[in-house]
């Protein structure tokens, strides 16, 4: 078994961790750095509960190895400070059990950053990669659209 001591840029800080070749980024975040906001839901990319932001783009952290994150900027839910989408989730009751919420928020946040003009089709294309089993998605839709709309006001 091979171990690597690597430096990862997580939430703006350089963190040194020792990982196996086979360790996923999710495993390293949770097990080595105590960042348990990213959730395991399926460990094969089906559910999106482990979504983080990688150089501005959403990434399911169970689908990449920790060593692949070297040299990239990783933002986890813990690194998101007062982002408008977080407040929008609160106000719109866009979560219930909260387990899919970090992944959903990271995906929504990335969407808002990458596509401030996202239309219904674009929103669906992005958000259908995550599963929420509690809500019927209406609240999440309202939350995302409320932030997009606010950003659009000149």
């Amino acid at each position: 078994m091979k171990f690597h001591t690597i430096t990862l840029n997580i939430n703006g800080n350089n963190r040194v961790v020792t990982v196996r070749s086979a360790d996923t980024l999710l495993y390293a975040l949770r097990g080595k750095l105590g960042l348990t906001g990213s959730k395991p839901g399926c460990l094969n990319g089906d559910c999106g509960a482990c979504t983080v932001n990688l150089d501005g783009w959403p990434m399911k952290s169970c689908l990449m190895l920790a060593v692949e994150a070297i040299g990239k900027k990783v933002t986890t839910i813990e690194g998101l400070q007062n982002a408008p989408i977080q407040q929008a989730f609160v106000e719109n009751f866009a979560f219930q059990c909260g387990y899919c919420t970090p992944g959903f928020i990271m995906n929504c946040h990335s969407l808002i950053e990458q596509h401030p003009d996202a239309d219904d089709e674009k929103i669906k294309e992005w958000l259908e990669s995550n599963i929420c089993r509690c809500t019927g998605y209406a609240e999440i839709e309202r939350a995302v659209k409320s932030v997009l709309k606010k950003n659009r006001v000149p």
């Binding site: 089906d46 019927g136 209406a138």
Partner: protein
């Protein structure tokens, strides 16, 4: 009402949107060992040999549990070995458990365990299980220990048989001019909560057993581990942090027992047992399947005179909670209609499928599907509007339930009113069918449902309120925050009673069974009712204590005092009074003397007037109240390839009283989404060996963003007089009517009676092709 009804922001909101909310698997310590389950690859097989020799050679392995005869477990019948011995009865059953330093080591070792099986004939459906020559899933059914309410039939696959005998069937059929009969079936499926189940256990030197689990029933974990293994009840301490979705699936006790046995095996060290998604779907209990036959008879005016119903529930390999689900399905078997002559046989069948647990609605989405499809067949035959047929048969105060409970305005919601409201907001009167073009057609279907919560007759709940020195309050109940927002609603109930700011009430989210009063289980939409009553009881205790201390300090009789706005004051002169911070921790006189002390309010509640059911007739009172709902689903159906889109879904539920509007809407819409997914696509696909072919979220597909319909939700408020502010349960209702309404809409759209779930295009195509 100041706080009740308002969309108060959920108390745990910030934790959940910042990733700080912790779930069971988020708690890990360096010393914690990991368990790995070796599971059966077959539905039914004899275990010939288990070879663990190679597995033991893997570094880091502490223990391998396999082949031991531990005490049998199971809630209604003790029929389940914690780890299979002699034979496996379902695909996914645990045959060995490896405990190692890390999850990778445990898995590596687990993969090296060689289990030799000899295949046995598989019981692949409840109908097959019911046949006389069916292979037996449990050869020793007659020898198992069981509860009073379980009625297993030895030397068969019948785990229980519930009978409903009401009225006179001969009379009922003779009064019926029109009779319809149909059979229905659907296979088991899954809850698919986003958090897979997880449990940890540690046994301390003094014998204390510390468990943490993602459970809806930590108090049950405590009770059952004590029962099964003879441990002192008080030494078992169960912690439950946030639970990442449950929907009934986390009410059974399973991984906790594995964690306990594993910890015991390694000298009490902490051990974690975590389900992979695949294990969560097949190894842990699933959503029950059903084969059913329904026969309804109506007179020439459309009044239903007789109902004969047979349920064959797919309880799976072990009866656990399926027995209660079967009973619950029997007691409300007719749906929300007034029928004087009822005959129902509800059987819980053993099969070689993953075993069943409660699923949101506790048998009611299932029984509603079979009744509501039959109602539409009846309407068709009578040439009546299906909504009108439901309206004229709607159950009303003065009628009796199948188990002969007399209904009144308090213990029954108002179904006619729900139907009227569906008619309005679903725009039923524009007609159920709209031709778009040659290819597409839009069709509306309707349904109704009702439910009482069949739970233990002596189920308790409790609440404790303590004061902080700043005059704020802490609220502790045994209700688990599984996502429903109940703990916030309980704070609202308390704030309303004390007429205070809800922000000054702090809610303890984590539950532990040692320091918090027992709440039976966070199931059956009973949290608000039972814990709400306990909170009101505790609030009254707090008010009394506040007044006692204040009466002394203010030199005024208790009777002259009021409590509001975090103050105790004179009713006739509110300026004279004391703030909570001056009395909540006792009152201190200027010279230093003190009276009172920290105010600790306690409240409790226990269900009343519930009875066991008569084993021959079913007569008895199974639950406290019946709420009701009416539904509509509109589909756009493609006649060319049988695909469809759910355009709109409507639910009107008698909620008694809306306590938190956005939370209530969220409960209803979320349940509708789950119900549509159950009805339209979710099922286990079994092969001939009883193997589940789709235990992943890419092959077992819940609804995703954008696949949801437009939701129309309405509330009717008929107060349940003995419930806090009149509220009725709401969390399950959105789901219960979706399968029936969707089935009804698609049956009209496709022009063929669709009696199976899930309603995938292939099934519709087969039904249609089979017909021509």
């Amino acid at each position: 009402m100041e706080v009740i009804g308002k969309s108060v922001i959920r108390k745990e909101a910030l934790e959940k949107v910042t990733g700080r909310a912790k779930y069971t698997n988020d708690y890990h310590s360096v010393s914690m060992l990991s368990g790995h389950k070796v599971i059966s690859p077959f539905g039914h097989a004899k275990i010939v040999d288990i070879d663990t020799e190679e597995a033991w050679k893997v570094p880091g392995v502490h223990a391998i549990l396999a082949g031991n005869h531990y005490p049998l477990t199971g809630e209604a019948i003790r029929d389940r070995p914690v780890i299979a011995v002699d034979k496996v009865r379902y695909h996914g059953e645990v045959v060995a458990l490896v405990v190692a330093d890390s999850p990778e080591q445990a898995k590596t070792a687990g993969d090296l365990i060689k289990v030799q099986y000899e295949l046995l004939p598989v019981v692949n459906s409840p109908t097959q299980a019911f046949q006389k020559d069916a292979p037996l899933v449990h050869e020793r059914l007659g020898e198992y220990k069981k509860e009073e309410d379980s009625h297993p039939v030895p030397d068969t696959n019948i785990a229980t048989h519930i009978k409903i005998r009401k009225g006179n069937m001969e009379k009922g059929w003779s009064e019926s001019d029109t009779v319809v009969e149909a059979t229905f079936s659907f296979a088991p499926s899954d809850h698919a909560a986003m958090e897979t189940r997880c449990a940890t256990a540690e046994i301390m030197p003094d014998g204390n057993i510390i468990i943490m689990t993602s459970s809806q029933a930590p108090f049950m974990v405590k009770r059952l581990i004590s029962d099964y293994f003879g441990e002192d009840l008080g030494k078992i301490i169960v912690h439950t942090p946030f639970v990442g979705g449950a929907y009934g699936g986390k009410a059974p006790v399973q991984l906790e027992i594995l964690a306990y046995l594993a910890s015991k095996e390694v000298g009490g060290k902490p051990v974690k047992i975590f389900n992979t998604r695949e294990e969560d779907i097949i190894t842990s209990p699933c959503h029950i399947g059903l084969d059913a036959t329904v026969k309804l008879g109506a007179d020439r005016n459309g009044k239903i005179r007789a109902a004969e119903i047979q349920h064959l529930w797919d309880g799976g390999a072990y009866s656990d909670k399926a027995i209660d689900v079967t009973r619950s399905g029997a007691v409300d078997c007719t749906g929300p209609y007034n029928i004087e002559n009822v005959w129902c046989d509800s059987y819980c069948m053993y099969t070689n499928h993953p075993y069943a647990s409660p699923f949101r609605g506790f048998s009611h989405s299932e029984l509603s599907f079979v009744i509501e499809r039959t109602m539409d067949l009846l309407a068709q035959k009578l040439n009546m509007d299906p909504l009108e047929l439901r309206y004229i048969n709607a159950i009303r105060p003065g009628n009796t339930t199948p188990t002969r409970v007399r209904l009144n305005k308090s213990n029954l919601g108002n179904l006619p009113k729900c139907i009227e409201k569906v008619r309005e907001i679903f725009n039923w009167d524009e007609g159920p069918v709209k031709e778009i073009n040659e290819r597409f057609i839009r069709v509306k279907g309707v349904s109704c449902s009702w439910k009482t919560s069949t739970i233990d007759t002596n189920a308790p709940s409790g609440a404790i309120i303590t004061f902080n020195k700043d005059g704020s309050l802490n609220l502790m109940t045994g209700v688990i925050e599984i996502g429903t927002g109940t703990k916030t609603v309980l704070a609202q109930i308390l704030a309303e009673r004390l007429k205070m700011d809800v922000d000054k009430i702090h809610v303890r989210m984590e539950v532990d069974t040692q320091t918090m009063p027992e709440h039976f289980k966070t199931v059956a939409s009973r949290g608000t009712f039972m814990a709400g009553r306990a909170v009101l009881n505790a609030a009254d205790d707090v008010i009394n204590q506040l007044k006692e201390v204040a009466a002394c300090a203010l030199r005024a009789p208790k009777e002259d005092l009021e409590v509001a706005d975090s103050r105790v004051f004179l009713r006739d002169d509110p300026a004279i009074g004391l703030h909570f911070k001056e009395v909540g921790y006792g009152y201190t006189y200027p010279n230093g003397n003190a009276i009172g002390g920290q105010i600790i309010g306690r409240g409790k509640y226990i269900l009343r007037h519930l009875t066991h059911l008569d084993p021959e007739t079913g007569a008895g009172k199974p639950g406290p109240e019946w709420s009701v709902a009416a539904y509509g689903v509109e589909v756009e159906f493609d006649r060319r390839d049988y695909t469809y889109r759910v355009v709109k879904a409507c639910t009107v539920v008698d909620i008694g009283k809306v306590l938190n509007e956005k939370a209530a809407l969220g409960q209803v819409m979320g349940a509708m989404s789950m119900g549509i997914a159950f009805a339209s696509r979710e099922t286990f696909y079994f092969d001939e060996l009883g193997r589940v072919l789709n235990p992943q979220l890419r092959t077992y597909r819940p609804l995703r963003y954008g696949e949801n319909p437009e939701y129309l939700v309405g509330f009717v408020e008929t107060p349940q007089l003995d419930s806090p502010y009149g509220a009725r349960g709401v969390g399950e209702f959105g789901l219960m009517g979706m399968p029936g309404a969707l089935g009804n809409a698609l049956s009209v759209a496709a022009g063929v009676s669709l009696n199976h779930l899930p309603l995938i295009p292939e099934l519709i195509w087969k039904a249609k092709e089979g017909e021509t």
